[in-house]
């Protein structure tokens, strides 16, 4: 049994199509335990109720964005060690520095290809299969 079989992931994105594309790509890697959330608030509520190993979150979202969600996760005792990947359309240095200071594990620029997403996930959780 590989990492892909047991890994629980949450994809957070306010755009349904992007969310769906990320989920489909993760499924193509053999991941089956994938939860979704449409914004940071929705994600945090669901994470507290049912933690995951890895959160893949869009950066720009209305209300609670990716960085606020990352801060909330890192400051929650039950969720603090959750692996966290931020996806952003503008991979500016200051955004990356800010995410790093909040304890992000990886930052992924959009639009990404399936091999790049796989590489980003594996750099955080190890080889999937």
């Amino acid at each position: 049994m590989g990492v892909a079989d047991i890994l629980r992931v949450m994809v957070v994105d306010d755009h349904m199509t992007s969310r769906m594309l990320t989920v489909e790509t993760l499924q193509s890697f053999g991941l089956n335990h994938i939860a979704v959330a449409k914004d940071g608030r929705d994600a945090f509520t669901n994470l507290v109720a049912k933690p995951v190993h890895l959160v893949i979150s869009d950066l720009y979202m209305p209300d609670v964005d990716g960085l606020k969600l990352l801060q909330a996760v890192r400051s929650h005792p039950k969720l603090a060690k959750t692996a966290f990947i931020v996806i952003t359309g503008r991979k500016d240095d200051d955004v990356v520095a800010k995410a790093k200071s909040f304890g992000v594990n990886n930052v992924l620029g959009k639009p990404f290809t399936a091999p790049i997403l796989k590489q980003a996930v594996e750099s955080v959780v190890g080889r999937l299969n």
């Binding site: 755009h15 349904m16 199509t17 992007s18 769906m20 594309l21 720009y60 209305p62 359309g89 959009k110 639009p111 990404f112 290809t113 399936a114």
Partner: protein, 177 residues
């Protein structure tokens, strides 16, 4: 003093937003699709230029779909940052022609993608000019939401040139031999 209208060309893979009433976005489309979004309350808008290249080695639109989704998302996010509300947004779609000489009909795949995206994201499509067999030039005013479309028939139609036949001299004489 007369102010010159501002004009910006939106190329493949680009998007642009503006609240300037003088601004016009110009997009030249073949099999590509342009999405023009307008918030009538704030009088702001934006347009993108989606090229989904398609790859026969992959299923569906391959990675191109991801780029189309990215361009739609970038456009929406920039409008949201300016204060636009999703429920007010009016979407106009253009392009997706089946151009002469193209294989696999990327135009119809682009149209299919754009309509599916609009439906998935709950965007209100108020008008569209899609498919067909010739290119289009779109002139879009983001502040008013008005679009002027011109079909580029000359760009793909071969002009048939009829060469004048040499005239036979009419002498009125009948030669017998």
């Amino acid at each position: 003093m007369n102010q010159r209208p501002k004009r910006r060309i939106v190329n493949h893979g680009e998007h642009a937003v503006s609240d300037d009433p003088e601004m016009t976005f110009s997009v030249v489309l073949g099999s590509c699709v342009a999405a023009c979004l307008h918030d009538p309350f704030l009088k702001i808008g934006g347009a993108n230029h989606i090229l989904l290249p398609g790859d026969s080695r992959q299923t569906g639109y391959g990675e191109g779909k991801r780029y189309g989704a990215f361009l739609m998302e970038s456009l929406l996010n920039d409008l949201f940052k300016m204060g636009a509300a999703r429920e007010r947004l009016q979407l106009k779609l253009f392009g997706g022609a089946q151009m002469f000489g193209t294989v696999n009909n990327p135009g119809s795949k682009n149209v299919e993608f754009a309509l599916a995206y609009a439906a998935n994201e709950g965007l209100n499509v108020v008008s569209s000019s899609l498919n067909g067999d010739c290119g289009r030039r779109i002139e879009y005013s983001p502040a008013s939401g008005r679009v002027r479309q011109r079909f580029l028939k000359d760009a793909i139609e071969e002009k048939v040139v009829i060469k004048p036949q040499p005239r036979v001299a009419d002498t009125g004489d009948l030669d017998l031999f």
